[in-house]
Amino acid sequence: MSDCQSIDLLVTPFIDGELPAQDRERVERHLRVCAPCHSRVDAERTVRTLMKGRQSLFKGESAPVALRVKCAGHCGMAAAGHALKSRWRRVMPLAAAAVIVLGAGGVLLYQATSRSARVMAAELAADHVTCFAIHASRIEQSADAVEAAMMATFGWTVDLPEGGDDELELIGSRPCLYGGGRIAHIMYRHRGEPMSLFMLPKASYDREMFETLGHECAIWSSGDRTCVLVSREAPAEVARLAAQVQPTFH
């Protein structure tokens, strides 16, 4: 094998900085005396530098929102649909339609029809996924701090139940945007799994529960406020949790 041929095999790792020192020196020595190899290295290095310099050009494309939500829906692979003994009315899923409306905006927030409940649930499930991915690791609030935040942001006097369940951990709260208004988003972990309790002002929905975007959503109203619980746990468990975390408004 000629010198040039054996050097040729080392050019790419040489440019990528993946050559051991000994080989690197060998390549450098050869490049000083061989113009053709030198220009070949320059050519390849030019492309490498170019590609690195233009990474943002290739990375401009991001995954569609619907894909994001669908992938998140594969988390946990929760067992579906036990029979429900509770007073929850379980409605058939409308996942496909819900995916289409995601991100479209302009949804009527306070219109309490069954369709808008599904749309709302899909959007809140998407918010649940997003908020846990982005914010959950940075928030740590006590129940007192969350109640104070509800007072400061919404003017609500809310009593959050103390729990009495070692498996339920309060993470904290965020004011999230929904339908052009602000809603309270309280984040928990139940047995380590993300769980969200949303509270909407001045809204009234029938008590319903359905599966949307891989999540189980329970919706109920209390006074003139509506609560929505979102989690990937089984329906029976979600119904139990909804009763457990049900806040009292004064």
């Binding site: 040729d8 070949r40 320059d42 050519a43 050009l57 993470i171 380590g192």
Partner: protein
């Protein structure tokens, strides 16, 4: 992601952290899938399938290793299986031709080589570069993409594609040289 991810939830807390970290790769998986399939609907399908498999196989992921590389490996395995399923009866010569092409050293025939600076300053480059990358033969585009855009190591790329490290290097080399041949006319004439 810090403290809360390591919080005392044992398995399930670790699982939630694993899932959150895995989901943060969705953009780069989608872009890469788009390069593999060239069709957005197929790319979405491929990415979804990748997550489905990843979450099912979460137990086989070795903590401490590169989660992103692991996901990319699943993505490429899934893509290869699909191609195999679809083309079971078609003889594909692609990989062989590719290896032969990779063997032929491509010596640029002298002449001035544009520096990265002169090329980078050339505004005409953006569409040219994108198109040049898109027109590379699949096997070369894959490795150049994984190395120069996604910044994986040779070993990680070899594992993803199921090929030897030496082949990864020769394909990267060949791919970059092909790109150079396509782009070198963009150097300013007076250089």
């Amino acid at each position: 992601m810090g403290a809360r991810l390591a919080s005392p939830h044992g398995q399930s807390g670790g699982k939630a952290a694993f899932e959150a970290e895995a989901l943060s790769s969705v953009d780069s998986l989608y872009r890469t899938a788009l390069r593999l399939t060239r069709v957005p609907a197929d790319a979405e399908d491929l990415v979804q399938d990748t997550y489905l498999k990843a979450f099912r196989a979460a137990d086989s992921f070795e903590p401490g290793t590169n989660l992103r590389a692991w996901l990319f490996t699943i993505l490429h395995n899934t893509a290869r299986n699909r191609i195999r399923d679809r083309a079971r009866d078609t003889v594909t010569v692609d990989s062989e031709t590719v290896e032969q092409a990779a063997e032929q050293p491509s010596f640029s025939n002298g002449g001035p080589v544009p520096t990265p600076e002169t090329l980078l300053l050339n505004e005409a480059l953006t569409p040219e570069l994108q198109s040049a990358v898109d027109h590379l033969p699949d096997a070369f585009r894959q490795v150049v993409w994984l190395r120069d855009v996604e910044e994986f190591s040779y070993a990680e790329i070899a594992a993803m594609l199921g090929i030897p490290v030496g082949t990864v290097m020769s394909r990267i080399s060949r791919g970059r040289r092909l790109l150079f041949e396509r782009l070198k006319h963009l150097q300013p004439a007076h250089v």
